[in-house]
């Protein structure tokens, strides 16, 4: 069973309850083929982040099975599965470049090679002038760029993204969207991208998983019929807008349901 999942993420009948009895995920099954880019979108509290944490191995679950590349994941982390958070914490006592070098050395690269690769990543983000600056001297956008470089430089096989670009201004957001797309396209790794932003989900992903309000259930999986070379797609193209509109309407329904439940609590 697990041999057929090489390189991909397989989630079967996953059930997660937080104490005392908050059902975060109910019977979620999902298969990400190796080398695919999938986005998950849903209202707040639908369990998207929980699913991502379970795949990263930093959260456990009650029922079901989770496999990545044939390996069972149940609270075990690995450098092969890395998370990009909204606010990546850099080591404040290391320079921008040393933060990236540190990650590469931890993986066993010789110092000279680690330095060479780190310099390449930093250059591609246009941050050479800041390579020797400390995190406190960088803007939030620059820090996030360095953080993303640090994660991707390690060549993770499963990139788990939890709203990684939500707090950034447009230029930093666009630059990192393209960096992530390039990594996915060139390295053919698997990406799972959690977001609230419909436009971002549709622009980046090949498939968008729509989740319901809590308890999280997968309602539908929408294919995005755009070329893999997304950087060549205009953000105002009619195909992209049509998918975005479809996804948005679904999300709006789910948000209304979640709010109706909220109003009930408020009597």
């Amino acid at each position: 069973m697990s041999t057929s999942t090489s390189g991909g993420l397989v989630v079967r009948n996953l059930h997660k309850t937080y104490p005392p009895d908050i059902v975060a995920l109910r019977d979620v099954s999902l298969a990400l083929a190796p080398g695919t880019f999938t986005a998950i979108i849903g209202p707040s509290g639908c369990g998207k982040t929980t699913l991502l944490k379970i795949a990263a191995g930093i959260e456990t679950y009650q029922h079901g099975e989770v496999f990545f590349a044939g390996e069972r994941i149940a609270g075990n982390t690995s450098w092969r599965r890395s998370v990009i958070y909204q606010d990546i914490r850099l080591f404040p006592w290391l320079t921008a470049q040393a933060n990236v070098v540190f990650a590469l050395e931890s993986k066993g690269l010789p110092k000279a090679e680690a330095r060479r690769q780190a310099a390449q990543w930093i250059e591609r983000q246009g941050l050479q002038p800041y390579a020797d600056a400390y995190p406190a001297e960088l803007s939030g956008g620059m820090r996030q760029k360095i953080g993303v470089c640090r994660v991707l430089a390690n060549m993770p096989e499963l990139v788990l993204c939890d709203e990684p670009f939500s707090a950034l201004d447009w230029t930093a957001r666009e630059s990192l969207q393209l960096e992530l797309l390039r990594y996915w396209y060139e390295q053919r790794k698997t990406v799972l991208f959690v977001t609230h932003n419909v436009e971002e989900a549709v622009y980046l992903a090949q498939r968008v998983v729509l989740m319901s309000a809590r308890p999280g259930v997968i309602k539908e999986i929408v294919d995005v019929p755009l070329p893999e070379e997304r950087w060549s797609v205009r953000r105002d193209s009619p195909q992209l807008l049509a998918v975005a509109q479809y996804v948005n309407n679904h999300i709006a329904d789910e948000v209304r349901k979640a709010q109706a439940a909220e109003q009930e609590v408020g009597y």
Binding site: G126, S139, W170, T171, V255, G266
Partner: protein, 282 residues
């Protein structure tokens, strides 16, 4: 029971005020927790029509928030004139309401008491303050939450209370500094609709600072883009979209709208690139 009609009688039918900035500059001293001092705003001219909705955007550190603080009267300009409604701004006033990213509600007061606090503080009769607060909280969809406390509300609902608390003072100018930056995108779009409805109904002058360009397009009639520091007006982009945007559910997915967002993004990217080349040269 308070009816909308009785409250409307109590409200003056005034529009928002005209806003005028003439040659406004702001210099900050270096040090005291600031890495960079010097010129923050450089000779800014800006004119807001009474009852207009204008968004201010620009690269990080361009002085957007400083501009808003000058209008609020929280800071004084180093040079130039700041006028609201034909009068120079000389300190904070309830006539100029502010909404911040953090709702800053009093945790020990109910939603209703948070909202009546301002009017009561300036001597409005309790019955009138309660009627006005109830009206605006109901307008913002919070009628079931009047007697709830802030910690019982979601982030989006807390921000709605912050909006009610600003508008209940009947300001001539409403200033918003990244008001929904802490909310998720989906909630954010909804609260933007509430704010637009409020603007359309009250016709106060709204000035809205944000770093989210698509949000600036969605809420405003006009986008003022500041240059990188020292901030000055670099571009003004007219947003020719229907005023009642909340009634057009699919507006965001029309090619016209998407093209406008792209246009604003391109101008923003130009400004950021200029800022970066200036930094590299320095």
């Amino acid at each position: 029971m308070v009816t909308t009609a009785s409250v409307n009688q109590a409200l003056p039918p005034s529009l928002g005020s005209e806003v005028e900035l003439l040659g406004v500059s702001k210099v900050r001293p270096k040090g005291a927790g600031r890495e960079t001092g010097g010129l923050v705003l450089n000779h800014v001219h800006l004119h807001l029509e009474p009852g207009s909705f204008v968004a201010i955007v620009g690269p990080g550190g361009c002085g957007k928030t400083t501009l808003l603080r000058l209008l609020a009267g929280l800071e004084a300009p180093s040079a130039g004139h700041v006028h609201v409604g034909g009068q120079p701004v000389q300190g904070p006033s309830p006539r100029r309401g502010i909404i911040f990213q953090d709702a800053n509600l009093f945790p020990w007061l109910s939603v209703l008491k948070n909202t009546t606090f301002g009017p009561l503080a300036v001597g409005v009769a309790p019955a009138v303050a309660t009627a006005r607060a109830t009206h605006w909280l109901t307008f913002l969809g919070l009628s079931k939450f009047l007697h709830r406390y802030p910690h019982e509300l979601s982030g989006g609902m807390q921000q709605r209370v912050a909006i009610a608390r600003a508008i209940v003072n009947e300001p001539e100018l409403l200033l918003a500094d990244e008001p929904f930056g802490g909310l998720d995108w989906i909630t954010r779009e909804q609260v933007c609709d509430e704010l637009l409805r409020l603007w359309y109904t009250t016709r106060k002058t709204f000035l809205y600072v944000t770093h989210a360009l698509e949000e600036a397009v969605y809420v405003s009639q006009r986008i003022v883009m500041l240059s990188a520091r020292p901030g000055t007006v670099a571009h003004v982009i007219e947003v020719n979209l229907p005023e009642q945007r909340w009634a057009h559910a699919d507006l965001r997915f029309t090619p016209e709208y998407a093209r406008l967002v792209e246009e604003v993004r391109e101008v923003f990217a130009e400004q950021t690139a200029l800022a970066q080349s200036a930094r590299s040269a320095a």
